[in-house]
Amino acid sequence: MKGVLGAAIAIGLWWAATIVFDIDPFYVPSPGDVVKTFGNTPGFLLGETWVTAGRVLIGFGIAVAGGLAVAVALAASRTVEQMTMPVLAAVNAVPKVALAPLLLVWMGFGNTPKIVMVVLVSFFPIVVATMAGLSSTPAELQRLARVLKSSWWQTFVKVRLPWALPQIFVGLKVATPLAIIGAVIGEVVSPDRGLGSVITGSGASADTPMAFAALVLLALAGVILFYLVAAVERLVIPWSAAP
């Protein structure tokens, strides 16, 4: 509820700013102009949103599945984990955005390079967070597992993985906005469909309200995806909701 109020105040301030400073709608349209644009072409904008959302969801799904699998495989052995951690950190530091033109060369147009970009940007935070979570098992729980002679798999399923879940979800929450950013970058670099392409197109035709409408839809999609992940988190780890 407080979140809705905050959003309403932010929109109010935006509106007030366009009036008080008498900003030319060509540069910054008011919320009213944006709503009007949306009203004129609702089917078109929703369709493009759906295209982008599809790319985000597919890419994010691949990144989650792949990220978890890779992290679990790497965390299986202390040695492998210590060997790969710096490599991962280095790869994670490479600006994936800079790869967008290369993806275009390698994969051409269409869905694939956009989805690949989503995977690239959201994969590493998930891997890093999961590995950090898996290696954060407290010493006393490790000792308990040893006293009970629990097998690697038993320790993993009963202790390490549940212990890592809160950190895994931190990684997922970091990755959600990145996934959307990835899709938009892909679409801006090689526009075909999707909200990124809409923004590129409206920039060319100086249709600022249209670009803003696309931005608002992207922000909305980001909020929805974030709260979806948060809802899953509350379902999977009810104990961490407690202080």
Binding site: E140, R143, L144, V147, L148, K149, V159, W239
Partner: protein, 241 residues
């Protein structure tokens, strides 16, 4: 019966424990007492099979200890409970790992320690003393011949410590499990132990074994053996300084 003969342990150059020879009888409550860093926890880890001695051997009922055994359970200074499991599910963890069916035992143990009504609660809803009771139940579900306790009450407040010590005494009388209990509290040692093994400072050596002949059940409050308690405490105090 636990026999410890000529046991020593070094960590690289550092000699933590030297030449310990000691026998713990069936059903005995032995307390290991000593100052911080005297190697008493190291000795306990070696009995548990978590750590190999660099010299000497340890046997339990005639079998040399080389790895953890199911009939030797351990309680740590921290309760080490799984935060996502209920009290009951935490108690059942060892049974699950061993592939035992122990729901009945768990219910019984929770009844015995007064936790029955908290069965479905999660650890964070319990006080520190209750969490440590859960850890004790989790150790007892292994039906251990030997229970190893590594300063189990030292993270608790003074009143809870006394309460739990009295309760542990009752459980020991009831179950007759052999208990090796590490502490640096003289008071706890005198209340609980049949014998107190006093370790010297690093490298830990066995300075003396003090038998405690005060009749059970013992209590912290006023009792008929105050003088005996005072003399024994004074003797232990002397040995530790």
């Amino acid at each position: 019966m636990i026999t410890i003969s000529g046991v020593g342990r070094s960590f690289k150059e550092l000699e933590a424990l030297a030449d310990i020879t000691l026998t713990v009888e069936h059903g005995e409550f032995l307390t290991l007492i000593g100052r911080s860093g005297c190697g008493k926890s190291t000795l306990l880890s070696m009995i548990a099979g978590l750590l190999a001695p660099t010299r000497g051997t340890i046997t339990i009922d005639g079998t040399p200890v080389t790895e953890p055994r199911r009939d030797v359970a351990m309680v740590f200074q921290q309760p080490a409970l799984l935060p996502w499991r209920s009290v009951e599910a935490n108690v059942l963890l060892p049974a699950e790992i061993f592939g035992w069916n122990a729901e009945k035992d768990a219910a019984q143990l929770l009844e015995m320690t007064g936790l029955a009504e908290f069965r479905t609660r999660r650890p964070h809803e319990l006080s520190g003393g209750m969490q440590q009771r859960v850890a004790l139940c989790r150790a007892l579900i292994q039906k251990p011949k030997v229970l190893l306790m590594d300063e189990p009450f030292s993270a608790l407040d003074a009143l809870t410590r006394e309460e739990l010590a009295v309760e542990l005494q009752r459980i020991h009388l009831e179950l007759g499990t052999t208990i090796v209990f590490v502490t640096h509290s003289i008071q706890e040692a005198v209340l609980l132990a049949d014998r107190v093994a006093v370790l010297s400072e690093r490298p830990g050596r066995l300075r003396e074994i003090v038998p405690i002949d005060i009749p059970r059940p013992r209590s912290f409050g006023y009792n008929a053996h105050l003088e005996q308690v005072a003399t024994t405490s004074a003797r232990l105090h002397e040995l530790l300084h």
